[in-house]
């Protein structure tokens, strides 16, 4: 390494390279990489569970024992939700890019940032303990009274893991809120913020406000299970539906925790590769914030068949339809942003286009399940599974990979191999649709979720879905190979290889330890691209540089 890097300016990677300089670093860029290692590990753990699930479901009676199958989907859910999707974009891309994008030298609280990573890993260890000791079979939703009175498994360990994990979320959210309020470079007004920053800002507010409720909820589950406190157990005067209200009060906003940063990433990618300003910037910021706010008032739509009052169900349905309005605005604005652009189809753009299509399908099917009467039939079936995977995997994971490729040269100082990356993006799109589209049909046919066995007439769709999953697996493993290769052999990246407008591109690739030689002064809004000649004005006023 030393010989290769000789002659280049010292970057955050090369400045000091002892083990303790990484494990005790307060540099947001290094912490982003630490988080990246942790969530990649958990992504593959969750992925192994998913692989087993799809292999099992290829035949009606499957290959796993029922108890093993039940543990697999539980582990898949817990790992993917709390240990991959929620932290994915904020802790890695957000951590790395936000200070650079607003012209700051670091996050507001570097030590809290590092603590967040340690707390995250601690919760990961507790979860791995639960997994190795024998797992749990409650589903990631921990519904009572099953979880508190009937499940045999490491429920307390798993809820403890989720409890601890929440503190990592809160610390990260807090850090971003304060950073974005206080550390913007001179001239970086709110209405000049790139939409990625807006996405992270809105999600951080939701993390701060919703996560404590999750902590309370899982703590109560653990207390009821361990000490027999009657909170949810009807025999002790508790109410099992109280759990659902509390759980979804967090877990519905959690869905938006997953999607809002993805929306921010995609807005960056589309403008850059279309080379025109985003259509309706102001509308986009309002849409992000209103999604974040309305997300707190829709939790009841998970309980339409659970026995809540008919009229409260109707109100929750109405609120859910309202959340579709800002989502639709975003889709229309991204589409309109393609108009009169000068579009190139590099891998990040392919991921972004895939995101818009898959998110649109996820959003439209969301309207179908928001329709109370249809939800009566579709609740707890594969239709719901397909719907939320279109949002969380088709949406968030596509955006994560898109963003990863886009910022890869900035993070590593190397270019990724374009053809391989395009292939991975296309495989993701094809594999994803083949995996999850058949599940919409299975859902309306009436296949409930969490079934380890199903009637033989549903096999054809399940086989298609499993075949798609194998393509998807290739699409997710592929980047590990060629990105790993590019770390060592990739072409050196210039500071601004995509000719993009953000401040992060106005420093070297990879950036120096303190991000900028001089604090940048912002004189321009984001996205000043000109589709006619491909030129651009960076946010610090630099023209075509």
């Amino acid at each position: 390494m030393a010989t290769i890097t000789a002659g280049l300016p010292t970057s955050y990677v090369t400045s000091e390279n002892t083990i303790s300089s990484w494990l005790l670093t307060k540099d947001h860029k290094r912490i982003a990489l630490l988080f990246f290692a942790s969530i990649t590990f958990f992504f593959f753990i969750g992925g192994i569970a998913a692989t087993l699930i799809r292999m099992h479901l290829a035949t009606p009676e499957g290959l796993l024992q029922p108890d093993i199958y039940n543990r697999m989907f539980t582990m898949h859910g817990i790992v993917m939700v709390w240990f991959f999707l929620i932290p994915s974009i904020p802790t890695t891309l957000g951590n790395f890019i936000i200070p650079l994008a607003i012209g700051a030298h670091d996050l507001a609280f570097p030590r809290i940032n590092l603590a967040s990573w340690y707390v995250f890993n601690l919760s990961g260890l507790v979860l791995l303990y639960a997994l190795i000791m024998g797992g749990i079979d409650t589903g990631w939703t921990f519904y009572t009274p099953y979880s508190t009175l009937f499940a045999n498994g490491y429920v307390i360990a798993a809820t403890l893991a989720v409890f601890i994990n929440g503190f990592s979320s809160i610390m990260t959210g807090l850090n971003f809120v304060v950073t974005i309020h206080r550390l913007r470079a001179p001239g970086m007004t709110w209405m000049r913020l790139p939409l990625f920053v807006w996405g992270i800002y809105s999600v951080s507010l939701v993390m701060l406000l919703a996560t404590p409720v999750l902590a309370m909820t899982v703590l109560l589950v653990a207390m009821e299970r361990f000490m027999g406190v009657g909170i949810f157990d009807p025999a002790r005067g508790g109410d099992p539906l109280l759990f659902q209200h509390m759980f979804w009060f967090y877990s519905h906003p959690a869905v938006y925790i997953m999607i809002l940063p993805a929306m921010g990433v995609v807005s960056e990618l589309i403008t850059c590769y279309v080379r025109r300003p985003i259509f309706g910037y102001t509308g986009m910021t309002y849409a992000l914030m209103s999604i974040a706010i309305i997300s707190f008032f829709v939790w009841g739509h998970h309980m339409f068949t659970a026995g809540i009052s008919i009229y409260s169900a109707v109100v929750f349905s109405l609120m859910t339809f309202f959340v579709a309005v800002p989502s639709a605005i975003k889709v229309f604005n991204w589409t309109a942003s393609l108009h009169k652009g000068s579009i190139t189809f590099d891998a990040p753009m392919l991921y972004a286009l895939g995101f818009v299509l898959l998110f649109t399908i996820g959003g439209l099917t969301g309207l179908i399940v928001a329709t109370v009467a249809l939800d009566v039939h579709l609740q707890d079936t594969y239709f719901v599974i397909a719907h939320f995977h279109y949002i969380m995997v088709g949406g968030t994971v596509s955006a994560f990979f898109g963003g990863l490729h886009y910022w890869w040269p900035k993070i590593t100082g190397r270019l990724y191999p374009e053809m391989w990356a395009r292939m991975a993006a296309l495989l993701t799109f094809v594999g994803f649709n083949l995996t999850f589209f058949p599940q919409f049909i299975l859902g309306y046919l009436g296949m409930p979720r969490r079934y380890y066995a199903y009637p033989p007439e549903w096999q054809a769709w399940n086989v298609l879905s499993s075949a798609g999953a194998s393509i998807l697996a290739v699409a997710y493993i592929l980047p590990l190979g060629y990105l790993g290769w590019s770390l060592l052999r990739g072409e050196r990246a210039a500071p601004n290889p995509w000719r993009a407008t953000g401040l992060e591109w106005q420093t070297s690739s990879p950036p120096p330890k303190h991000n900028f030689e001089r604090t940048p002064v912002v004189t321009a809004g984001p996205y000043l691209y000109d589709p006619e000649d491909g030129g651009f004005i960076a946010q610090n006023g630099a023209v075509n540089a």
Binding site: P145, P234, F304, T344, T360, V372, R450
Partner: protein, 309 residues
């Protein structure tokens, strides 16, 4: 059903037909929106690919009238979907008076059905065609969910509560019953079938079950056995409310509130009498929580209901 691949589930109840219509309408609208978005994206991507000769002059800068336009259009479309969906939902979940009432108790991992005549079935439900069947759902242990895909109805069975759901089957035949809320190891096998029969065949089936006592009669026996009759009986000297005619009426409670005496209320009164003390009566009834299983509760309630008629 016999095809190797199924595209559409069977529909065998009026509930299902109404839900189908709504589903098809929403699918059509969503399909149209999706096609519009995909079509626009595709044509923009082709027309404005880098290097194409299409003019980029006069880039749309003023966007607000477009945005207000499509926001309003979305909102109107959504409100139509909402109102239609809500109206159907209220119809689906507002429990009508059934021609027939069946108690359904979910337990790990089976469905136990009890007909008013005392006939019992496990994982099977025989019902007559073209009659409104009202189900009372209870759970002995965890949350289950009673789901008949061919009827498009589903409702959770929650421990500690009674829930109701109804259907009116339109085609004789056998249809799948499933549990759709994860309830433990054998969740996937908590299945059964609903057998829809012509009324004559159903009457014959009821007769052939070899039942001696109706649900209400069994309830009457429990009513004496557990000492309920000592206070609530006609010749009792204890000051306790009479149960004759209580079902279906309005009851005024000690705390000033008034509730409708439905099955859920009767159940709560038996298990948590202190919370539901009737106005003008001393709170002397012992609570029976933990002493009565769901099966017995069903019988007692059937008996109390029989007093109402």
């Amino acid at each position: 059903m016999d095809h190797w691949i199924q595209f559409w589930p069977r529909t065998a109840a009026v509930n299902g037909e109404v839900v189908n219509a709504l589903y098809i309408a929403e699918l059509a609208v969503c399909g149209l929106i999706l096609m519009t978005v995909v079509g626009l994206m595709f044509s923009f991507c082709v027309r404005y690919r880098a290097g194409s000769t299409a003019s980029r002059a006069n880039l749309t800068e003023k966007t607000w009238h477009w945005e207000i336009g499509w926001t309003t259009a979305t909102l109107v479309l959504l409100l139509i979907g909402f109102v239609w969906g809500a109206a159907v939902y209220i119809w689906l979940y507002k429990s009508p008076l059934g021609d027939l009432e069946v108690y359904v108790v979910g337990k790990q991992w089976m469905w136990k059905m009890e007909h008013p005549g005392g006939q019992r079935e496990i994982d099977a439900l025989h019902v007559p065609v073209d009659k409104t069947v009202r189900l009372l759902l209870a759970s002995q242990d965890v949350i289950h969910s009673f789901f008949i895909p061919a009827f498009r109805i589903k409702h959770d069975a929650v421990p500690g509560q009674y829930e109701t759901v109804w259907f009116k089957a339109t085609k004789p035949g056998t249809y799948l019953i499933e549990c759709s809320e994860f309830c433990g190891t054998e969740h996937a096998h908590m299945k059964g079938e609903v057998v829809v029969m012509e009324p004559a065949a159903f009457a014959l089936w009821l007769r052939d079950q070899g039942v001696r006592e109706s649900l209400a009669q069994e309830g009457e026996a429990l009513f004496r056995e557990h000492g309920c009759s000592g206070c609530h009986g006609e010749n009792s000297t204890v000051h306790a409310p009479s149960l004759v005619g209580v079902y279906g009426g309005i009851v005024h409670l000690q705390d000033g509130s008034a509730v409708r005496a439905d099955e859920r209320y009767l159940r709560d009164c038996i298990l948590l009498p202190r919370t539901f003390t009737v106005a003008g009566y001393p709170p002397v009834m012992p609570d029976f929580s933990g002493q009565l299983g769901e099966d017995d509760l069903v019988k007692l309630i059937a008996y109390i209901k029989s007093l109402a008629r």
